[in-house]
Amino acid sequence: MTFETLRLSRIQSEALDLAPLLSSTEREDCGAMALFAGTVRNHHEGRAVTHLIYTAHAPLCEKIIAEIERETIERFKVPECRVVHRIGKLGIGEVAIYAIVRSPHRAEAFAALRHAVDATKHRAPIWKEEFYPDGSSSFVQGCCIAEGHEPPEHLKRLAESQPAHLHSHEGQH
């Protein structure tokens, strides 16, 4: 897998492969590599989980993760930062996200990795649906993309508005 291929596939429906992520980020001037993997747990808030389905707005996600990588590289002065996220159905123990940082020293690698992972979780348009042993499912309570921003007043009021005729035609995509 070439560097460019990897750069363009931050969102993947196949099982995530660690080897190309490690090899494509190797640098002789970096003594520290910090890696995070988010794997599917068999429980959430005390409830057994059988599997997950992740969906993502792929084009927006590629763009936002690329921004997060650039911002992490600039803010923490690390030469390499890469994040990939899997979508589709994932079983227990499967890897949903890899984030990797390489830097000359370890302090900035740890700080940068933490930022890249937190930022991806808070800002990338990805949604996790959990499935339970009884066959039911639910979307996991998430983070508003505009983190820390109160919604504008006219949108807050909308939340209380009454249902009425909807000028729309339904369709599938």
Partner: protein
């Protein structure tokens, strides 16, 4: 003009569909589209927590829409 709404995450569940066509005035903004969507009681509660995107760009409520736009409704995210 007509635009297409793309529902993501829980909003697709609430709307009962991934996609909906919406008829708006020629001068409509994102806020106008949201106001119209909020007439769907199932969606109204979720919309204030959502972000909005046209194509691969996050847009603000005052963004002017144009015919044929695909407006994505992005509820709180839960990747990772």
């Amino acid at each position: 003009m007509n635009i297409t709404i793309q529902f993501w995450g829980i909003t697709a569940r609430l709307a009962g569909t991934d996609q909906r066509a919406l008829a708006l005035a020629e001068t409509a903004t994102v806020a106008d589209a949201i106001r119209l969507l909020a007439q769907d009681a199932a969606l109204a509660g979720e919309l204030p927590r959502c972000a909005y995107a046209v194509g691969a760009d996050i847009v603000s409520p005052d963004h002017a829409l144009k015919a044929g736009d695909e407006l994505s409704v992005l509820p709180p995210v839960s990747g990772g």
